[in-house]
Symmetry: C3
Subunit: 463 residues, 3 copies
């Protein structure tokens, strides 16, 4: 057996009993996945997923960053190669290093998928590598492992993707137009057209003009084009935007200043400070548009992208070399909050990679401003200990009701049920501790378990 | 039942038994409240407290910041209105949102007061709102709920208020001159006359000159006026000062530099940096005076006051919109410590809103400098998890004996017993864990439980 | 009894049973001490250790910083006095203040030594001071308490000292040339010749030229002299270097720039920024040399040394007045990592005094770069709670296998077994919790307990 029915529950028998009861309340609830990086194309085409290596290893930077840190070469994992050579060999390398994941959430997610989806019972290792490869390969070829079948099996109620404003959303449209009943929604992620440091920024802005028939070489046309694109997303069910800036800085420039700054960044004449100021201004513009069109705003700041220069030069973005940095919210968000902080019809969900801000900045901010909510622990902190720290540090100031449930935020579709299961269990364990310590009554914990698993995410993301 | 006899004790039965024994040792000890924001006027006049809304909701920014964060309007809570309109309606709004406080310390403090003082047994909710309102209203009208009766009932041994140097302390004098035996003491909080950004700073300094007959338009007269006012406070039992600066920065300027800087800030010509430097210099001046007159010095740095511009413009200070910021101590305190750090007759109690400094800066500083002690977890961190983090992070470096017991720091008089009860229980739970893990013997834990609840605060604050 | 057989294990009986089994697996493993500050001279001469005060109190800044913080004068402890006056009096002062160490790791280490080495059973206090003094004094005079006998009794497999490049390592050579079988190895700590702020820097560089016959007044000769000295250390068994800079900053200047900067710092013309840049450059030079000669590199940044000006003026360095500061790694290490981060034959072990970096910076960095490993909790964080925080915050991102086991890092030879015992117990307790919560299987935890106690340190330090 790879996963135990009591996993992640408190060791103390009394608290464990409480956790079991709470978990039983939420175990079968549908999954709402309001933020992630799966591909609409999978569901539009509904073709079988490829082999185990391509499914589990090559798209998952959680996995290969760990292997790389211990001396496995990305070449040997066939990362960044258009033509796969030997997937079984890649899988065997992974299997023989599986012990590296002891104590990590990756291990929990994978074991869940291995056992619950593929019926595997013996731990992955050098010895069982081929058994795993063959078992998974065989199942992937069957009808019940097609993307749409898995969506149903996972009991998904909503699944949001993350999409560029330049994306025509043809796959989303195709899903809608098919007779398949599922809610797969786009999310508006404008980084390619609002971050001057994003590769091809000026070209992207020009393309945006092309698709919207607006003059995006001028500030006013650029804003109109963004607003229009947001509406295009909304028409396909989109309820949220997402913003992945290096910092949480916001600005509130005058129209004239903003227009001038836009000209400069578009011309490529802006220095690093001006680029940062432009991103800052764009967060405030996005908040203004959200107040108009109702899209929920997500801010994911504080990642130093592409920290490993050599890997970036060779493999490009998203190869597991993004490193968090200390992040300030209290001053950074002030310009935006000065303008829109008291709006009750605006929802801004804040994320962080800097846990020291949970109790110092984020919980006090979200425990005061009507527009603010706290996103769940993100990325490196999407883990049992990370979730526990989040609840312990944020709840006493922000309460539970200024948080928004769980995000799986994953590229790995097959890990979605396992990730939500970990989140539900850790929340039940936290609630069980409060009940066992008589800080909360069990009937309240029952209600909260439901809210944290299902109710809050639905409400916060307007789903 | 709203509160359980074992609340906040460890779930594990062995450790819980130890916690019960330790708590039994300290449960009935008198309460020493060396720092808070109750009003001497209440005890001088000894008039009944007003209705439940005015007692519990409107003065408590912990409560209405949470309600506000979830969309309740401050107008609907009748905040900042001179004439109350419908207290029962305010109370009903509060009651119907009481679930928001699940998992927060506010819930623990309130339930304690509801049950222990007012005999209420059913949870506050929309349904029980009127029962609560009527029960509390009726009791507030009785003799045993008058301020002086409650002081006795709460088993208070000392209660310190926080007062401006411009306050004549008439209420404190009236209490002293009455035949009522109680120790209600003022605390010298000079922010209005030492912080150039405080509203009406120059006028305040001029008024200080008026009350002291010193020429406060000159540096030397200003210092004399402060020293003289400190003595006036001391004569009424004051043992401590309190300083609420944006940062912990200190300075040690020459007499001539300081005098010049004073002229500039008084003339209103100082920029933000010079204002900060002036506050920094004043901390060192206050330390110097403390060494002379024996007043214990408290530093509460790191709050970004009035973060919500619109609320500040409409309602003024203290409306729940103060947000903590990252705080540095190791360099900021250096000028003061260079001068007075090795004085054994000086006590400086450090507080923080930045928990990352507990193990990194505060415990190492207090574990070395003879003049330094660590104040208890403050404000957002005055909570079970906050207290646990403080003990876990500070004790191993600073020990228990460089800490100073508990502060309730509250405006809400009726919450005082509940707050001290939470602190005593959390400390007993922490000690019980150390005993259960054989890191401390139970006889030592007994002694420590007494010290943390009673002994250390008395000694540190010279009470 | 001073120490309990179940100390530091979880209170919950099921988890405690697991911890006991894991600990039994590692209890008798040899001790590898790859980083510390014991003196090779002790083992070269093998003379009796002096009296209890000189053995336990005067060399241990953990002890006298706590006593000093509570008003004990360093004079009364005879710190910094060449001629001891009354060791028994010093011991009595220490004994009567022993309660200050409740809840600290110092207490755990000392009680271990008192009971396990000296057979003491009653707690140290004013009453038992003389009993302790006499018992310890008597044993120190016996053959079984000579340094070499203790080395064997402690079951040490390797003991590394920390040494200046100007040290001739005569004691290390003497030990090697004696017929005593023990591995006592030097560590190359070049601070005196690479840190321009180190006392006597220029003279030290000149001396380095003298011992190596290189022209250390020029950049190229200076580098050659360092390389040559590293080889001299290596010949005596050294496997590692150690670097104690104020920050983790690194640089990668051109040859010409570096040479020019060297000239300036050597001439004493460098300002603080240039001195910092020179240290930064030297970390990168050291990494380059490590790639050549195979020495493992340790970086211990973030201590503000000699924070107490008056004590420094009177007593000099290392008197317990070093205070941690916030430390950045993500930008600071970038120049070095840009150049060498992907080298699989380089090992750089990172330490920190800023726990907020564990999950934010260090675990993500070590969980990606092949050359990086995380050192154990250091100094103020070398404690049960500190170790628990490290495992909880680092493991989920970096795994266990990017860590390197335990360092005792001590000047106090007699505390070595007690320190390793605490580390082994805390690791077993952490693993037991993972097993009890079904996040890890017990057979895996068994393997990990062995790796964390013995395997990883041996591999990481190439011992």
């Amino acid at each position: 057996m790879l996963i135990h029915p009591d996993r992640l529950f408190p060791a103390e028998p009394g608290a464990r009993q409480i956790a079991r009861r709470l978990y039983e309340r939420v175990r079968k609830l549908p999954i709402i996945s309001p933020h992630g990086h799966t591909q609409a194309e999978w569901f539009a085409r509904n073709e079988p997923f490829p082999d185990p290596a391509k499914l589990f290893v090559q798209p998952d930077h959680y996995i290969y960053r760990m292997l790389y840190s211990q001396g496995v070469l990305l070449e040997d994992l066939e990362i960044g190669q258009s033509e796969p050579k030997d997937s079984r060999r890649v899988w065997r390398i992974f299997a023989s290093h599986y012990y590296l994941f002891r104590g990590t959430p990756t291990r929990l997610w994978l074991d869940f998928a291995f056992q619950e989806l593929f019926g595997l019972q013996d731990r992955l290792s050098e010895e069982t590598a081929d058994l795993y490869f063959d078992t998974i390969s065989a199942k992937l070829g069957t009808a019940e492992f097609l993307p749409r079948a898995l969506y149903q099996r996972f009991n998904l109620e909503v699944l949001a993707t993350t999409d560029s404003p330049l994306d025509g959303l043809a796959d989303h449209r195709a899903i809608r137009e098919s007779n398949w009943k599922a809610r797969i929604l786009p999310t508006f992620r404008p980084d390619p057209v609002v971050d001057p440091e994003f590769g091809g920024f000026a070209e992207n802005v020009a393309k945006l003009g092309g698709t919207t028939k607006e003059d995006t070489s001028a500030w006013s046309g650029y804003l109109k084009a963004l607003g229009q694109t947001r509406l295009r997303f909304r028409e396909l069910g989109c309820t949220a935007t997402d913003h992945g800036h290096p910092t949480a800085r916001t600005a509130d420039l005058s129209m004239a200043e903003a227009a001038k700054l836009f000209d400069r960044v578009l011309a490529g004449d802006a220095d690093a400070q001006q680029q940062e100021l432009f991103r800052a201004q764009m967060l405030t513009e996005m908040a203004r548009m959200s107040l108009e069109d109702g899209l929920v705003m997500q801010i994911h700041p504080g990642s130093v992208r592409n920290h490993n220069r050599k890997l970036y030069e060779r493999y490009g973005r998203d190869v597991g070399a993004d490193i968090p940095a200390a992040t300030n919210y209290v001053e950074a968000l002030r310009p935006l909050l000065d303008r829109f902080g008291n709006e009750r019809d605006l929802t801004i969900i804040l994320f962080t990679l800097d846990e020291s801000t949970y109790s110092r900045e984020l919980a006090p901010l979200a425990g005061h401003y009507p527009c603010l909510r706290l996103g769940p622990p993100w990325w490196f902190h999407d883990s049992p200990e990370g979730m526990r720290r989040f609840r312990e540090r944020a709840t006493e100031t922000a309460g539970f009701y200024n948080t928004v449930g769980f995000n799986d935020d994953t590229r790995a579709f097959l890990s979605i049920p396992g990730r939500h299961d970990v989140a539900r269990r850790v929340d039940c364990a936290f609630l069980a501790r409060l009940v066992a310590e008589h800080r909360l009554d069990e009937d309240e914990a029952m209600e909260l378990a439901h809210d944290l698993s299902y109710g809050l995410v639905k409400e916060a993301y307007k789903l």
